[in-house]
């Protein structure tokens, strides 16, 4: 049978163990000789390179199958081990089996009744108890440990002691330990019955336990461990070959010494050595034994190491592969390109090819290409004849001859040419917009060119970034790329339902300069710019705004040229917002820009509700592409002509302004000095919960940050609006007012770990200062600005802060990358089914309707199915104002159309229509349109909603700040935020880093501060140490505790409370109320007296364990309590606490006390809160999906190996995620079957993935 005939599609994979007889059966040769080659360089028969195991040399034939190297699949050999050894991957199973079964008869250590009971439960497996197998095997293990005597043979059982990695001992009654040798273990395992094994979750038909102890070792074919010939002609063998040689050598020695009657002790040492080699052959990273090394000192890469990890077989070679027809080079910008184009260098275009089948319609064209040959673009590199012969045109002398022989059904591999579709990608591919389809534009020079407007989705810049390009080879692949992946189809991001592509940098500056008041163009300028934007002769030229003395057109007219004629919109420009606030200045009426400036808010990337967004939404993405292209090209032409630069002189401030800034800073310095003086005097106002030191630090830091702000503001005010920096900052082109302030006014406080710089020397940051210098300068406040330059000390502080920034970024990318991987792994297999439920490949429902309303965020209008206001506004234009519809008419219309609408939309529709004054006909029209838009916005079956959700939450992770201890609400409550918090949430941690509660109060309590404080003191955990002044331990066996009146009062405790707390029969307690003294007398030695002192100090006086601090705050009309530390169950029981509203940020606690649904809601709330706090827009549907998945099994599952990703049914998917080898071992003993239903599994075996277009198939009726 040749290899081609044997190619079949994989239907599934069953995992099992090979029995010794099977290994022998499949073996083509017993390997006995440790030598590989003899003196002539020929493989030794019975050696490791035996030619029956397959062949590597080209031309040489395999002794078993007769094929040459490319076709020979390789054949296994075997080694007969002189003594059985334990397979390292299964030691834990062996241990478990030994512990659970009788040492004499091999039966389970359970009574017959128990066995029957479990058997019955297993066979009657009820759907109400889906985790039965796990429950039972856990119960059995617990029960078995209590059994002392076998229920069947009555023999006493010994304890088994397992010494890692491979040694077992039995502890006999006398206390002596006898070694259990693998031979003995094997005998015991043989006795275990199949029925008992099934109870424990093993599948005896695929893995008998005795097979876990090896008698025969399979030897992999040479193709698995190819040797390489070095340049010097010396052969270098693979690590596995080396290891098997070791095994063979020791094996031989064991056999010889056994035969020659060597003392058993020495034989045992050799057997242990054999065990060591076999163990390291499987896994060279076993803890407890030394690694096996190569002669060079490098640790050997054995089987486990080959499979494991990022570069291992699963992740490195099966989940991801190297591909042909791809190219990588540096990218550079080209604003003359279309946004959907990519510039490809000629050199690249001549190497990447597309196979084109010749037909009567293209044969002449292809002939020309062949004549051009492989070196002239556009040409061809190969011709594939119908008989399968491939002709390489590089070596052909007579191209004409080949062109002439070309006939239909020949395939020509032609060069990449303009208009071909290719796939363009930049790593890290964090979301689907990181891989988009572009049209080729072949260009000179050696970089890939792309339009700057598509930088945001790729997150690329041109400081040396490289990108990859792939050429789809099949018609199917090309059409899929064309319909799903083109740039214009990706303008709207599924993360938040707004445009991610749009104008950036100079485009925005140009837009402002063009559309600002007072920009006028002559007819010549106007027409040439319009032409640059792609104006066509059939477009009408507008009337000039000014005619005297010469006709002049305004910049707004030029911009309006490319707006759709019927476009109406108003919005707030970024410019206006930074100046005056939210007045809607930009007005577009009938496709004409009437007023306002165009800037980031109108055409920017990552700006929702912009003009670009409206066009994409209302006119389609193709129109949006054209609009963007024309506008950006026009803007480019405009700014190229008008020019724009930012220079050193523009950073200069007038003398008065500089002195004003200096004054402000001096004022702040004085204030800081004052604060320090107050601190010394002890008159510093207290901030509750903070020590005087931290209070001082807090005030000073506040003052200094205000100083920088003020200085920055003064500088900002002094700039004219013509200042290039101001223009860039205000239009959103680049930079911020903070940056401007730092360049011109003062840099401000430098910080390390969120604090002013303090470390370095004793009590000072640098030796240039006095110890404990209170001046802001000494702690890293930089008064200078970038323009004037920093002095050396400031420079050093700045470098310290800068370094932290760099470290932070490096750490963050790693953390967020791992979170992304885990999210994708946990969610990849979820897709929308035809009934709009979201399910995993086994049909388990995660959501009953995707996103709860079935709307695809990518097709939504910024998260909503319909933008009602806009729809009503546009309809109102054609509506008869005088005949508003009656409320009943509206209700009837909504009733008629709204049957399928969700409650919220129906409500909104009703409300908006009632306040709209539309006539009855328009009302109907709106209703009809709403239904249409909802249908359009509904998710499509097959949508990989899981992956989209994972990407939408993971991708913004990189943009999050890492170290964010933020003060939420109250100053003394710091809460983890940003990336660490997000990770904590998806990890479903039992204890978050900063647990915290919001305790609401019931009626009487919430109105009175006094009562609220009282409740707060009931909640706050108070131990003895919190209410004392000091404590003295006296040698005569006495502990004197001096209570602090103030502290007692603050916590509303009394001396009696403390007395009650420390009451104990062993202690003799006396109290002196006048002196607030408690004396504890004990008759123990001095040392244990101290222990008792600590015990007493830690005793609880009142409150709830876990609540460290409480703050009573007023929120609106009511008082509530914020805590650090959390204990929901206990706090709910306190009188005065509102049980219905009190919450915590600990999701696990919510799960425990309020149930899984509450935990799901809390998860959504916390994740959304974390993202929003960072200013990241993520559609709530993505968060819903993650939360629903995490709670779908009835308990909180983490996103990661111990949760969702670890409980996938697919063996391959689990193995590819994290714990590769143990996963495979477990699959084998349980006899698991890979059904190939998910995504990763199918990628691994090379089949189409069952989501999206891979989900459907052509169904052919039988003839």
């Amino acid at each position: 049978m040749s290899l081609e005939e044997s190619i079949k599609s994989v239907g599934g994979i069953r995992f099992a163990l090979s029995s010794p007889s099977e290994i022998r059966k499949y073996s083509v040769a017993e390997i006995t000789a440790p030598e590989t080659y003899d003196e002539d360089g020929m493989p030794v028969q019975g050696g490791l390179m035996d030619n029956r195991l397959g062949t590597l040399e080209p031309g040489q034939k395999c002794a078993t199958c007769g094929n040459t190297a490319p076709k020979c699949p390789g054949h296994f050999g075997h080694i007969e081990l002189a003594e059985p050894v334990i397979h390292i991957a299964f030691v834990d199973d062996i241990h478990k089996l030994l512990v659970s079964t009788c040492r004499a008869c091999g039966r389970l250590l359970l009574s017959q009744e128990d066995i029957n009971e479990y058997g019955k439960r297993l066979s009657e497996k009820s759907s109400a108890s889906p985790m039965l197998v796990e429950i039972i095997s856990r119960e059995i293990l617990a029960k078995v440990k209590k059994t002392k005597e076998c229920f069947f043979c009555g023999r006493g059982q010994y304890e088994i002691e397992f010494t890692k990695p491979t040694v077992f001992h039995e502890i006999t009654e006398t206390g002596g330990a006898t070694r259990l040798l693998p031979v003995a273990i094997r005998e015991r395992l043989e006795r275990i019955t199949n029925d008992d094994l099934k109870l424990m979750g093993y599948d005896p038909s695929s893995a008998r336990p005795e097979w876990l102890v090896l008698q025969v070792l399979p030897v992999p074919p040479v193709a698995v461990r190819p040797s390489i010939t070095l340049e010097s002609g010396i052969r270098s063998e693979d690590d596995l070959t080396h290891k098997i040689v070791d095994i063979l050598r020791v094996n031989q020695r064991v056999r010889e010494s056994k035969e020659s009657g060597t003392p058993p002790l020495i034989v045992q040492d050799l057997v242990d050595l054999l065990q060591y080699h076999v163990t390291t052959y499987f896994d060279n990273e076993v803890s407890g034994i030394p690694q096996a090394h190569h002669r060079s000192g490098r640790p050997l890469k054995t089987i486990s190491q080959r499979l494991k990890g990022k570069e291992g077989r699963f992740r490195g070679s099966l989940s991801g592969k190297r591909v042909d027809f791809s190219s990588r080079t540096v990218i550079s910008p080209d604003p003359s390109l279309d946004i959907s184009e990519v510039g490809v260098p000629f050199e690249v275009a001549k190497k990447l090819t597309i196979p084109e089948k010749a037909s009567p319609w293209n044969i002449e064209f292809l002939k020309k290409l062949i004549l051009n040959g492989p070196f002239k673009h556009p040409g061809a590199n190969y011709i594939i004849r119908p008989d399968g012969i491939k002709i390489r045109l590089d070596y052909v002398t007579d191209l004409q001859m080949h062109a002439d022989t070309l006939a239909p059904s020949f395939i020509v591999e032609r060069h990449l040419t303009d208009g071909d579709i290719v796939i363009f990608n930049r790593q890290p591919s964090l979301h689907r917009m990181s891989v988009m389809a572009h049209y080729v534009k072949v260009l000179p020079y050696r970089t890939f060119r792309l339009h700057p407007a598509v930088c945001p989705p790729y997150n690329s810049d041109f400081d040396g970034d490289e990108m990859n390009l792939h050429v789809p080879q099949s018609e199917e692949a090309r059409s899929e790329a064309l319909t799903l992946m083109r740039v214009q189809d990706q303008i709207l991001s599924p993360r938040y339902g707004g445009p991610i592509i749009g104008g950036i940098r100079d485009f925005l500056t140009a837009a402002y300069l063009l559309t600002k008041e007072g920009t006028f163009l002559t007819k010549e300028e106007f027409t040439s710019l319009a032409l640059a934007g792609g104006m066509t002769p059939n477009m009408e030229l507008p009337k000039p705004e000014k005619t005297d003395p010469v006709p002049l057109y305004s910049g707004r007219q030029l911009f309006s040229l490319f707006l759709p004629r019927d476009f109406n919109y108003v919005l707030v420009s970024k410019w206006e917002k930074s100046l005056r606030g939210a007045t809607k200045d930009v007005v577009i009426k009938d496709g004409t820009l009437i007023s306002g400036v165009i800037d980031r808010a109108a055409i920017g990337a990552e700006e929702s509700d912009s003009i670009l967004h409206r066009i994409a939404k209302d006119y389609g993405t193709e129109q949006a592409r054209r609009f963007l292209n024309s506008t950006l090209r026009l803007l480019k032409a405009f700014i190229t002509r008008s020019g724009f630069s930012y220079g050193f002189d523009e950073l200069e401030l007038p003398h008065e302004v500089r002195s004003k800034i200096n004054e402000t800073l001096d004022e702040s310095y004085a204030k800081v000095a004052d604060l320090n003086a107050q601190y010394k005097k002890g008159t510093l106002p207290e901030t509750r919960g903070l020590s005087p030191e931290s209070a001082l630090e807090f005030y000073v830091a506040n003052e200094l940050s205000r100083a920088r702000e003020k200085a920055g503001r003064i500088a900002d005010k002094s700039f004219s609006i013509q200042n290039a920096g101001i223009i860039m900052a205000r239009t959103g082109a680049r930079g911020s007012t903070l940056n401007l302030g730092q360049m011109t006014a003062a840099l401000g406080q430098q910080s390390v770990r969120g604090k002013r710089i303090e470390k370095g020397y004793q009590k000072r940051a640098l030796p240039h200062f006095n110890k404990a210098d209170p001046s802001p300068d000494a702690r890293g406040f930089v008064r200078s600005n970038y323009r004037d330059g920093l002095n050396p000390i400031e420079f050093f502080f700045h470098a310290m802060g800068g370094r932290e920034g760099l470290v932070d970024t490096a750490v963050r990318t790693q953390q967020s990358g791992y979170m992304q991987r885990r999210l994708v792994n946990a969610l990849e297999h979820l897709k929308v089914e035809y009934d709009l439920t979201v399910r995993d490949p086994n049909g388990n429902v995660i959501q009953f309707r995707y996103g709860e309303d079935g709307i695809d965020p990518a097709k939504s209008d910024h998260g909503r199915a319909v933008n009602l206001e806009r729809l009503i506004d546009t309809t109102a234009l054609t509506s008869d104002q005088n005949k508003p519809a009656a409320e009943s008419t509206i209700e009837r219309a909504v009733e008629k159309y709204g049957g399928e609408l969700n409650p919220r939309l129906r409500e909104d529709l009703l409300r908006d229509l009632k306040s709209s004054k539309l006539d009855p006909k328009s009302v109907e029209k709106v209703c009809e349109k709403v239904v249409e838009l909802v249908t359009k916005g509904t998710v499509e079956p097959g949508e990989a909603s899981g992956i989209v959700a994972a990407q939408s939450i993971g991708e913004p992770g990189t943009q999050m700040t890492l170290r964010t201890f933020h003060f939420a609400g109250v100053k003394e409550r710091d809460v983890t935020l940003g990336l660490p918090r997000l990770i904590e949430l998806v990890d479903a941690r039992k204890q978050p880093a900063t647990p915290s509660m919001d305790v609401f109060l019931v009626e009487d309590y919430k109105k009175s501060n006094e009562k609220a404080v009282k409740v707060a003191n009931e909640i706050r955990f108070t131990k003895v140490a919190n209410v004392i002044d000091r404590v003295e331990v006296l040698v005569q066996g006495e502990i004197d505790i001096y209570l602090s009146k103030a502290r007692l009062a603050e916590r509303q405790c009394t001396l009696d409370d403390v007395l009650a707390a420390i009451q104990s029969p062993k202690r003799k307690i006396e109290s002196d109320e006048r002196r607030n003294l408690i004396t504890v007398k004990m008759e123990v030695d001095f040392a244990s007296l101290h222990i008792h002192k600590n015990k007493i100090l830690n005793q609880k006086v009142k409150g709830i364990p876990g609540i460290d601090r409480v703050t009573v705050v007023k929120e609106g009309e009511e008082w509530k309590i914020q805590t650090s530390g959390s204990n929901l169950a206990k706090v709910r029981q306190i009188e005065g606490v509102d049980k219905t509203r009190t919450t915590t940020n600990n999701t696990f606690e919510i799960y425990q006390t309020l149930g899984i649904e509450a935990a799901r809601n809390a998860l959504v709330k916390e994740i959304m809160g974390t993202l929003e706090e960072q200013g990241l827009e993520v559609d709530i549907r993505h968060v819903y999906l993650v939360a629903d998945l995490m709670t779908s099994k009835g308990f909180l599952q983490q996103i990661g190996r111990h949760g969702v990703a670890g409980t996938k049914t697919s063996v391959l998917a689990r193995a590819a995620f994290e714990i590769t080898v143990p996963t495979l071992a477990e699959a084998a003993v349980r006899g698991e079957t890979e059904e190939l239903r998910g995504v990763t599994e199918n990628v691994i075996v090379g089949l189409p993935i069952p989501v999206g277009t891979g989900m459907i198939d052509v169904f052919m009726r039988g003839v």
């Binding site: 108890s129 399910r839 899984i1156 649904e1157 819903y1184």
Partner: protein, 90 residues
């Protein structure tokens, strides 16, 4: 501090269904359950689970094998239904 006196008080103390994070849970009738199973064309085990030890389950006294209908408040749809199948806890 509240004292544990009568049994009712204890139930009152641990009552969770009126908490704002807990949506409305109700046990479906045999008929209702059948209808839901056929509407989603799924077996019971394919539904999301609700452990028999869940505080809400204890309160509404659902048993393993019951189907619970949950009425969620939704940001996107206003209101929506979710179903969970009550199972024995691990």
């Amino acid at each position: 501090m509240a004292k544990k006196t009568k049994k009712e008080d204890i139930i009152e103390e641990t009552k969770v269904t009126d908490h704002k994070l807990v949506p409305k849970h109700e046990i479906l009738s045999e008929d209702g359950k059948k209808q839901i199973l056929s509407r989603f064309n799924a077996t019971e085990e394919q539904f999301p689970f609700l452990f028999s030890t869940d505080p809400v389950v204890r309160e509404i006294q659902a048993k393993p094998g019951d189907m619970v209908k949950i009425t969620r408040v939704s940001d996107t749809a206003g209101e929506c239904f979710y179903y969970r199948y009550v199972v024995e806890a691990v």
